[in-house]
Symmetry: C2
Subunit: 296 residues, 2 copies
Amino acid sequence: MELRTLRYFVAVAEELHFSRAAARLGISQPPLSQQIKALEEELGGRLLVRTNRRVALTAAGTLFLDEAREVLARAERASRLVSRLGRGESGQLRIGFTTSVPLTSLLPRTLMHYRQRYPDVDLRMHELNSQRQITPLLEGDLDIGIMRRATLPPELSAFTLIREPLVAVVNAQSELGASDTPLSLAELATQPFVYFSPAAGTGLLDQFNVLFAQRGLTPRLVQEVGGPNTIISLVASGLGVSLLPESFRHIHIDNVRYRPISDADARSEVWLTHARHPLTPQAQHFIQLVREAIAD
Amino acid sequence: MELRTLRYFVAVAEELHFSRAAARLGISQPPLSQQIKALEEELGGRLLVRTNRRVALTAAGTLFLDEAREVLARAERASRLVSRLGRGESGQLRIGFTTSVPLTSLLPRTLMHYRQRYPDVDLRMHELNSQRQITPLLEGDLDIGIMRRATLPPELSAFTLIREPLVAVVNAQSELGASDTPLSLAELATQPFVYFSPAAGTGLLDQFNVLFAQRGLTPRLVQEVGGPNTIISLVASGLGVSLLPESFRHIHIDNVRYRPISDADARSEVWLTHARHPLTPQAQHFIQLVREAIAD
DNA sequence: TCGTAATGATATGCATAGCGTATCAAAAAC
DNA sequence: GTTTTTGATACGCTATGCATATCATTACGA
């Protein structure tokens, strides 16, 4: 017994006429008669009484009509559900992102596009620092991670979404806050620094260390903090200077001034990271949209 | 998409191994791979991830596994239910019978056999006189009627189950009750009669009338009643004599004596009647059992 | 590091299931 | 009685699904 058999039977049972049913099914009448006959033989009893040029359902046929409709409807439903899920039109997409990412316009824009295009996908955003995204990505608890540049295990793959300049964060009342002209890292390094503690897990700290070490500079850290907002607040209070990606300029706090860095390599990257092999269709679509957004 | 496809997919999803699944299905591995591939193309998304010599389900595949199992189970159930019903192993059987029929051993015996053999058939017995069985039989409200010989419309078909002699029912205190020897109808007709009213609808009245008319006899009816038990009671009270099929001897009432009738044609028939064309399998089985019981 | 085993994918040929055309048989309608 | 309707039957063909042979990739062991 196959679904085709059920479709044929339902057609005959509804039309109560073999030729009309065959026309509706787009086949000719003889094979339809044969299939119904075979079905009756398989079930071991008559489903239809063909008498006096009139076709009628037996009790068994009436029952089978209900059952066959039910089976067909379930099969149809299964196909529809799985098709949508498999095409990435439903299901879920879990994205990890760092604090700084919402400040760039790329992510909010792409998320908006994605939600418009795939409104039935359950989008789950998890704010996690770069380090803390790695394990969930490896274990399949996150589909996509958006993070600052970091050292990744080989099972993860990444590409650059954004490459943005670093800017000095200085107190407007201080000596360095008197101007808006570019500063060199060497100049900045003369000042007391407020920066992330290693426990904050941000990829920015690595970039920070590398940049200064390459120049033989060792800035004096007066305060280690957990998040960028704290950094900016402490700079506002005059505790020291700092160095952050340009997108943090969007955070306006009294007494804080952002100055460009003259060093050409003072840049930070935002990465899109994912486990290497089996990307879900939802993740593929998201990445596709991100790439299109970058291309603009 | 066919049920076969679903069976194949379930096998692969359960084994997570194409070759083992193919072995379980009794086919070779290549066609299995092809069918799964075709299924994935039809649904428009991957159901399985074949990676690193390991097969795993995607989210869509996990959903489809549940759905496919459900569809297959429903199809299986439909097949089982309808098969039983179509084979006459379940469903119902509606039998009409007259008052006198339970007195013969044939019907109780056959019913017992039928219930043993087809315990899941809902057997509905309706006590109805011969006339009142005809309409339900014609309209499909009864499958089988068991009745005394009657004139039937051509849409009904019948055969004889029992042919039994008639016996005289006489009062033990009366002149005719003094002996057990055979009586002729002519002798009996000299006595006042207790018999069925036409409203009782029994086929016995027809037979009664025919028998006496053929002999030019017109017995004097002193009382018309509705049922055989009343006849016997009234005979017991001395109101008159009567004529009933032999099986009524099973009703023992004080002061009633049954005497054989010497006329060879003084016989009554019990018929099994049914609508001509589409007998339900349940009715066919019942008739089969009755015929076997008669053959013994 | 290289060879070997395991495993799914691909290529190709064949058998059969299912379809179409032609025709029959029975019954109803005129 | 003739014609029409309609499901069943006969028969040939095609396409689907299967088997055999082989390939490609990867993991594993020496």
